[in-house]
């Protein structure tokens, strides 16, 4: 098992960690989740049929682990507050309160704005943005990870950019209004 772990770690660890980090927006949680990914992968490595590439298979496992975590957090929050939320609403409320990660705090304002606005996109849109732009996966790789057709990846990517632009424009406008008041 150690041998298998070493190989996977050397090849994929940092990209997988980064993917999970941007999905859950919390370093500690990403650390826990990446561990869970390894456990799932090492347990089922023998059953990996090689129908997809190893890389997209790992991303696919990481995606499920990340999304399961986010949804479980949503259920917990609903219980605490005794309210019925749509999944997407609650997820972004949770995230908005999270402080900006250190790595991002030193980046340009635009990058920070986009990071914040990304939280307002739907789950599907966020996945496509993370895979295509931050993880630099090709359309076909992203389609494999998400279990979608390439067409759906392209469509969702376009809609995600549109949603981001809308959100960023709204934020710019409200900032201008605040400044003028």
């Amino acid at each position: 098992m150690r041998e298998e772990f070493d190989r996977l770690y050397d090849t994929y660890h940092h990209t997988l960690f980064q993917y999970l980090f941007y999905m859950v927006r919390n370093r500690e949680v990403a650390e826990e989740l990446v561990q869970e990914v390894y456990i799932k992968v090492l347990n089922s490595y023998k059953s990996f049929e090689g129908k997809s590439s190893e890389k997209t298979w790992l991303y696919s496992v990481a995606k499920h682990v990340g999304i399961d975590y986010i949804r479980s957090q949503g259920r917990k929050k609903r219980k605490w507050e005794g309210k019925q939320y749509e999944w997407s609403e609650r997820e972004f409320e949770l995230r908005d309160q999270a402080p900006l990660p250190d790595e991002l705090a030193v980046r340009k304002d635009e990058v920070q704005e986009v990071y914040k606005a990304l939280a307002d996109c739907t789950e599907d849109q966020q996945q496509v943005i993370l895979l295509r732009y931050i993880q630099s996966l090709s359309v076909s790789e992203a389609a494999e990870v998400l279990g979608w057709t390439e067409s759906k990846v392209k469509t969702t990517q376009h809609r995600a950019l549109k949603a981001l632009r809308k959100r960023l424009e709204e934020k710019s406008t409200s900032k201008l209004k605040e400044a003028s008041e």
Partner: protein, 461 residues
């Protein structure tokens, strides 16, 4: 429609790519140790769970049985109550109809009449609007779109009503997504809308539907993009091109970087019941209109999910054979007297040389002098005309060497020049200049005048 801000797709994509790399601070050994510990704990927990499950084997069936009894008790009274309510409603309806002495159908007719009168008033206002815009069209002489972009000709917005034709047909989501940020009058522009023109032509032993495009100038808000204009073109009631996508097509998304257009249809679209002729016309229209603007992929979705039931073809996700690459234009004389330009790609004319390379501009003009045997269209350039081309950086000069043509009217000469301008649009030339003897025969173009190249074939009467 919202104003353009400084956030565009390019800037957003650039920012996304600048997201910092985030690294796990733990070492490989630390991580492995944690995984090992977690695996051990998981194994122990599994064993404990198994034990618990064995102990509580009786609990779940018993709880489920109790819940089932409780549910039956809850459901029975509500079933009885629904039945009673349904009977009461039926009695009420019967009594109501009897009381009026007329069937419910008359009420429906009244509503229909009201809807018709509203529709009439809308048509009236639209036709008034058209008259105004046609005047603009004549004044502007047909404004072209160029290389996949829309040429906007800004004018002061005279009144919000002038945009009625566009707004009436605009997407529902615009109300939500594109509310103006500030409540100030937005400037409008005159742009050329490509209008599909369908014709039935004899190809070999049978007749088939073909599509060409003409352009009409319409007024749009200045912020309207190519997607808005194409949406208007495909859904507006004002254009009768053999099929209407109004109420079915709900959005067009363009991804110029990937040469991809996404057409999103509503769930209640009627494309599955397309007759074969309609299916052919619609397919040709979509292929041509998006090919014309440089798109090679046309994706069809229903509420964002790929795949549309497209007539007899069944579910399709992507339209095949969309060809943005083109060489040359040919002429088709419509039965109503119009001369329409047909793209070489749509006509199936040769677009490559013997080595398989795309034709040069000079070779394209030469090719436009002849057509395939038995073609339903004709050459755009007379065989006997000698043309010489001298390309510059982003422009080209076409010199016409002799005048042995059989042209009799100025309109025939104009068609010749128009076809050369269109052919140049496939070569990234921004301007074209004509020189030579034929320029005396036309009033539309002057010797040595720099003409902006356009890629929208316009009709000529």
């Amino acid at each position: 429609m919202s104003k353009r801000s400084n956030w565009d797709d390019g800037k957003i994509e650039e920012s996304l790519k600048q997201f910092p790399a985030v690294k796990d601070n733990r070492s490989k050994d630390e991580l492995f140790q944690s995984i090992q510990n977690q695996l051990d704990t998981t194994t122990t927990n599994k064993r404990n769970d198994l034990r618990k499950k064995k102990k509580r084997a009786w609990y779940y069936p018993a709880a489920a049985a109790a819940a089932a009894v409780f549910l039956i008790i809850l459901v029975l009274p509500s079933l009885v109550s629904n039945e009673q309510q349904q009977m009461t409603t039926e009695n009420y309806n019967a009594g109501d109809m009897a009381g009026n002495g007329e069937p419910a159908g008359n009420n429906t007719a009244a509503v229909m009449d009201e809807a018709n009168s509203m529709e009439e008033s809308l048509n009236e206002s639209a036709s008034n609007n058209n008259e105004e815009v046609y005047t603009a069209e004549n004044e502007n002489g047909g404004m072209p779109a160029n290389n996949g972009e829309v040429n906007n000709y800004a004018v002061e917005n005279e009144a919000a009503e002038t945009n009625e034709g566009y707004n009436n047909n605009n997407r529902e989501e615009n109300e939500e997504e594109e509310l103006p940020v500030e409540e100030e009058a937005e400037q409008s522009s005159y742009v050329t809308v490509p209008v599909p023109r369908t014709m039935e032509v004899a190809t070999g032993n049978y007749r088939s539907g073909k599509v060409a495009f003409t352009g009409v100038v319409r007024e749009f808000p200045e912020s309207a993009g190519l997607d808005d204009i194409l949406f208007y073109s495909l859904t507006s009631e004002e254009f009768n091109w053999g099929y209407s996508l109004q109420g079915q097509l709900q959005d067009i998304d363009l991804m110029p970087d990937e040469n991809t257009a996404v057409l999103d249809f509503s769930e209640d679209h009627r494309l599955m019941s397309l007759a074969s002729e309609q299916e052919n016309i619609l397919r040709e229209t979509l292929r041509e209109i998006f090919g014309l603007y440089g798109f090679s992929t046309v994706i069809l979705t229903v509420n964002g999910d790929p795949g549309v039931d497209f007539g007899q073809a069944g579910p399709i996700e992507e339209l095949e054979d969309v060809t943005p690459v083109n060489r040359g234009y040919y002429l088709y004389k419509h039965e109503n007297g119009e001369s329409l330009f047909i793209r070489g790609a749509a006509a199936g004319e040769e677009m490559t040389d013997d080595s398989g390379n795309l034709l040069s501009f000079e070779d394209t003009l030469e090719k436009m002098k002849s057509v395939n045997d038995g073609a339903w269209y004709s050459p755009a350039i007379p065989e006997e005309l000698e043309l010489e081309t001298s390309p510059g950086d982003n422009e080209i000069t076409v010199t016409i060497e002799n005048e042995n043509s059989q042209f009799e009217t100025a309109a025939e000469y104009d068609l010749l020049f128009e076809s050369v301008i269109l052919a140049a649009s496939d070569f990234n030339f921004e301007y074209i200049t004509f020189e030579g003897v034929l320029l005396d025969s036309t009033e539309s173009f002057e010797d040595g005048e720099k003409i902006k190249v356009r890629n929208l074939p316009l009709a000529s009467q």
